[in-house]
């Protein structure tokens, strides 16, 4: 499965929203359920799925599907 699609489904699952509401360009500001606590739950899910361990500064920047995709690509995750 393509990485962006995987991220999209993880975000949908963590936020407990219909996957159709999340697309490849979705941003935290567009989704009411994506609050600061959901952000932490999302990071935990990404850590479990991809084996990454972002710093607190990086966590604060992972606020959109493109940003998460970029981070995972830089981390060398496939």
């Amino acid at each position: 499965m393509e990485m962006t699609e995987k991220i999209r489904l993880i975000v949908s699952d963590v936020l407990e929203v219909d996957a159709n509401r999340i697309d490849a360009e979705s941003h935290q500001a567009d989704i009411a359920e994506w609050d600061s606590l959901a952000q932490l739950r999302l990071v935990t899910a990404l850590e479990e799925e991809f084996g990454v361990k972002p710093t607190m500064r990086e966590i604060a920047e992972l606020t959109s599907i493109p940003a998460i995709t970029r981070y995972l690509n830089i981390s060398g995750t496939h």
Binding site: L37, L40, R41, V43, T44, K53, T55, M56
Partner: protein
């Protein structure tokens, strides 16, 4: 209620209590807070207790560290095993820290008749932030650097630097 407790509670002006803790402990107790002068209560330097907060230390020791802020409307109910709050804690408004539970095994007695019990002390570490409306129950232990999100209920052990949420509070994240 003991007579001495009654006298302290009803006849000592709140402004005098404010002065007592300001001069004795360098802690600011709002004149609108309900805090007794009690040998069982220790408040550290530069700590504050806001309006309408109540600290009850007649049943057991309550120890509050330095530079800790107790927010508006909080209730801290001491019990025999005691309550210990560390330094630099932020206790948000309407937090309840309660060290007793009523027993409920009997159907033929009221809860009041069955009395209360405590499993153990409540310990809150240093630099802990407890969100509005949260409840910290009997025998809870909260490590240093923990964040308890609003309206959570903590009844067990929370590891250091955890962010917890819910009833019962579960770890959502470990700060790093």
């Amino acid at each position: 209620m003991k007579i001495s407790t009654g006298i302290r509670r009803f006849f000592v002006p709140h402004s005098l209590i404010t002065l007592y803790y300001l001069l004795g402990c360098r802690a600011f107790i709002s004149p609108r807070a309900e805090v007794e002068i009690s040998p069982l209560l220790r408040i550290g330097s530069k700590s504050t207790v806001s309006s309408f907060a109540k600290i009850k230390a007649s049943e057991g020791p309550v120890s509050i560290g330095a530079r800790t802020d107790i927010g508006v409307g909080c209730f801290i109910g001491g019990h025999r095993p005691g309550i210990e709050i560390g330094d630099d804690c932020l206790i948000s408004p309407n937090v309840s820290i309660i060290g007793v539970n009523y027993r409920y095994e009997r159907l033929d007695m009221t809860f009041r008749e069955q009395g209360t019990e405590s499993k153990g002390p409540i310990r809150i570490g240093n630099n802990v932030w407890i969100g509005v409306g949260s409840v910290i129950l009997d025998n809870a232990e909260i490590g240093d650097g923990v964040i308890v999100t609003p309206n959570s209920v903590v009844s067990g052990c929370i590891p250091a630097n955890a962010i917890v949420q819910g009833n019962p509070a579960k770890t959502v994240f470990i700060r790093r």
